[in-house]
Amino acid sequence: MIQRDSFAHSHPLVNALYYVAVVGIATFCLHPVILIMSYLAAMTYAASLRGWRHVLRLNLTFVIPGMLIVAVLNPTFNHYGVTPLVVLNDGNSITVEAIVYGVILALSLAVVINWFVSINLVMTRDKFVYLFGRILPVGSLVLAMVFRFVPLFQRQFRTIRHGQQSLGRAPRQVRLWRRPHAWVTIWSIMLTWALENAITTADSMKARGYGQHHRTSFAIYRMRTREWLLVGLILLLTVLLVVSISTHQLMAQYNPTIMVTGFASAHLTPLSMLGLVAATVLVWLPLILRLFAAWRWRKVGHAGTAHATLPDYFRVPTTDSQRKYHTTQEGARL
């Protein structure tokens, strides 16, 4: 899944630029064709990383009901448009335009939610630290320390709670009116522990030269040709789409009348085609990259393997998930 995905393992700049472009499209470009295509692309990519079951469950139980709610709420509050359906008591009316705009807004929201499923998996902590460090060099160290100390403190908190539990003083073991006292005790132990051990950490930092010179920042990511090409491609596609939209060849308007251009024989111009193609390639880009990688592997991969494929029970586990159930091999002794 995510282990074999080439987009997920790209440079953070590529990922960040891509997601800014694609979430921007979903938010600002309200063209129905583009939105529907983004929805399908976002859902498919999220499913390829997380599994269809998770994504379908998310969409059916959360996103689609949310869409319905927004689609119903919009016409009840906004009364623009020229085609009224029902006239209400105070003179306002439920208009077709408002209903359609509500659906479009809901769709836009659904697309963003689905993109965020993949953002969650692709933008790892390392990448955030890297991007942050580009903007503010000392910030990357602070962020790395936050990611270090939050789980550490969490674990220590649990240790302290267990320690108090074995003395009979955990919050859930004492009477209700003593609970605040029990919580305060745990927090006080935690704070003292954290402060005392921070001195050791500060010593360790000082002993390694912290604060003596101007700090550089080490990045484990490198921009190679492929990364530059991807950045260029994303920028190019975004520019084409923006050009197409700004010349009104590919636009959608819902107020006062519904006017959608750029698709169906009526309004298809070269510029609008350009915009549509650019949008298609942009939203499907991660999956295109995945297909490309699979194709290359088929071409190149089999040439290196000369043995026949054996049944499953002969194979030695090679990945961590396989290794979990084979307890004979284990890592370093230390």
């Binding site: 240790t159 009979g168 005392e196 390694r208 030269g209 550089t216 990045a219 230390l334």
Partner: protein, 485 residues
């Protein structure tokens, strides 16, 4: 050829305190391993910190610390590297690669050079297997190795280690010391190490120095220091490796030229002796009666998708006995103890305490007077700012009234002072718990748990980081308690 570092007549005192270091003379020859040992509080840490300019404490000092004139520190290097005792608190970042690069980032080294140097060090220490891992997933030994690597990546001329193996299990400690020796041989780094566990280091050190109350009383080869220790009937002879102690006990150290320091040399010496051997050791008496704790078919794992930590464990613990559970790193000892202490529940199997299911006990009934659990980290029990207050806190304060935690007829003051006597804390009652040494902290945590007078005492690695004297005291305290109860 001058020594790398020479300390001459060095006296140091913290502000408003009597002198901690008195007229210390120590010289560190190039590329040699110097071992510094002494009891807790003898000033080892203070001396080690004096030698690192970044960690020098404030205070008044006389005497000099001179570096050899041909030690030149190049721009992206550090002169002194320091590794402390606790593996966890020295790590600053969240990823292994970032921790390795941290020191180099501090010195302003350019990106490409950082890449090369971290890769070199990672490959040398074998860390490249877990280069991209999260620091929180490493074991204690791995973390300490990471600390060592992240200091060595700065190519210090002198490497100082302050009890680096104190918090590690014996196998990891052994591996760490051998890595240090390899480092010394491959890179020629001068090493100054303060240690309690002399088994591994003593045979490998080039120079040994004994510190007592702020002074270096003996310095020289290992056999010279051992002879001096025995001549003074020093308490620290208990720290020496077993072969040395056997040799000293049987020969009285008349000849010290081939003093055995390792099991190998000890066996060789033994082979040439004809000593009377005890015919047999009496096996421990078979326990009588029904077991107090009975665990059957315990299966446990931390997450549903994780591996099983305990698989079908059966255990019988009889009243009045002291049972030690030993095992390798990650074998599930602490987990078993947590199950017996009802911190976690097994997903299969059951535990009986005194004939009744452990799960059926009420919390108050279980943790007051039945079970007492001493956690691995004694600091997680300290609440108040003096030892005395902490002891009173366990039995719900100074006021003489009956609470679930304390339903004795004895007065609280008598109970607390009695417990302080039992655990050797009488002189420390007004100190802050965090100011105590490791051994004293363990004893305070034990005292707190014992004040609830449990029938069953569960101790999770109570001797971690303690020297032989403190281990003995802890053993005596818990033994006295079992005899009394």
């Amino acid at each position: 050829m001058t020594d790398l570092l020479t300390v001459t007549d060095f006296t140091f005192a913290y502000p408003d305190q009597p002198a901690t270091l008195k007229h210390v003379d120590l010289s560190l020859p190039h590329s040699q391993i110097t071992l510094l040992f002494g009891q807790s509080g003898s000033g080892k840490t203070t001396l080690l910190r004096q030698l690192d300019p970044a960690l020098r404490p404030t205070g008044t000092h006389t005497g000099t610390v001179t570096w050899s004139p041909d030690v030149t520190v190049r721009p992206h290097q550090l002169q002194v590297g320091f590794v402390q005792q606790h593996p966890d608190t020295q790590i600053v970042t969240d990823k292994v690669w970032h921790e390795l690069a941290f020191g180099l980032e501090n010195l302003g080294v350019p990106q490409d050079e950082i890449r090369v140097r971290t890769a070199e060090m990672a490959a040398y220490f074998g860390i490249h297997q877990w280069f991209h891992r999260d620091v929180s997933t490493l074991s204690g030994g791995q973390k300490q190795l990471l600390n060592l690597a992240s200091v060595m990546v700065l190519r210090p001329a002198l490497l100082i280690l302050d009890e680096p193996t104190a918090q590690l299990d014996p196998i990891a400690a052994d591996d760490f010391i051998h890595t240090l020796v390899k480092l010394n041989q491959d890179l020629g780094t001068t090493i100054l190490i303060a240690e309690h566990r002399l088994d591994a280091v003593l045979p490998l050190a080039d120079q040994v120095a004994l510190m007592t109350r702020g002074e270096i009383t003996v310095a020289g080869s290992a056999s010279k220091v051992v002879q001096a220790l025995y001549a003074d009937h020093h308490a620290l002879t208990a720290e020496l490796p077993a072969p040395t102690r056997v040799y000293a006990a049987t020969t009285g150290l008349r000849r010290a030229d081939n003093l055995p320091l390792t099991i190998k040399t000890g066996q060789q010496w033994l082979a040439n002796q004809s000593l009377p051997v005890a015919s047999h050791f009496a096996p421990p008496a078979e326990p009588a009666g029904k077991p107090l704790i009975r665990a059957r078919d315990l299966w446990f794992r931390y997450d549903q998708d994780g591996p099983d930590v305990l698989r079908g464990v059966n255990l019988d613990v009889y009243g009045g006995e002291t049972l030690a559970i030993v095992g390798g790193n990650g074998s599930g000892k602490s987990t078993l103890l947590s199950l017996l202490g009802r911190i976690y529940q097994p997903y299969r199997g059951h535990i009986n305490l005194a004939g009744k299911r452990l799960a059926r006990y009420a919390d108050a009934e279980l943790y007051h007077h039945n079970l007492g659990v001493l956690p691995q980290d004694p600091q997680s029990l300290f609440v108040r700012s003096t030892v005395r207050e902490d002891l009173y806190e366990v039995i719900d304060g100074h006021r003489q009234r009956t609470t679930p935690a304390y339903d004795l007829e004895m007065s609280k003051d008598a109970a607390v002072s009695g417990m302080a006597d039992l655990t050797g804390l009488t002189d420390l009652l007004d100190r802050h718990p965090y100011d105590l040494s490791g051994g004293e902290q363990q004893r305070l945590a034990l005292a707190k748990v014992l004040l609830l007078r449990p029938r069953v005492l569960l101790l999770d690695e109570p001797t971690k980081g303690l020297d032989a004297v403190n281990k003995g005291q802890l053993g005596t305290s818990s033994h006295n308690y079992t005899k009394r109860a």
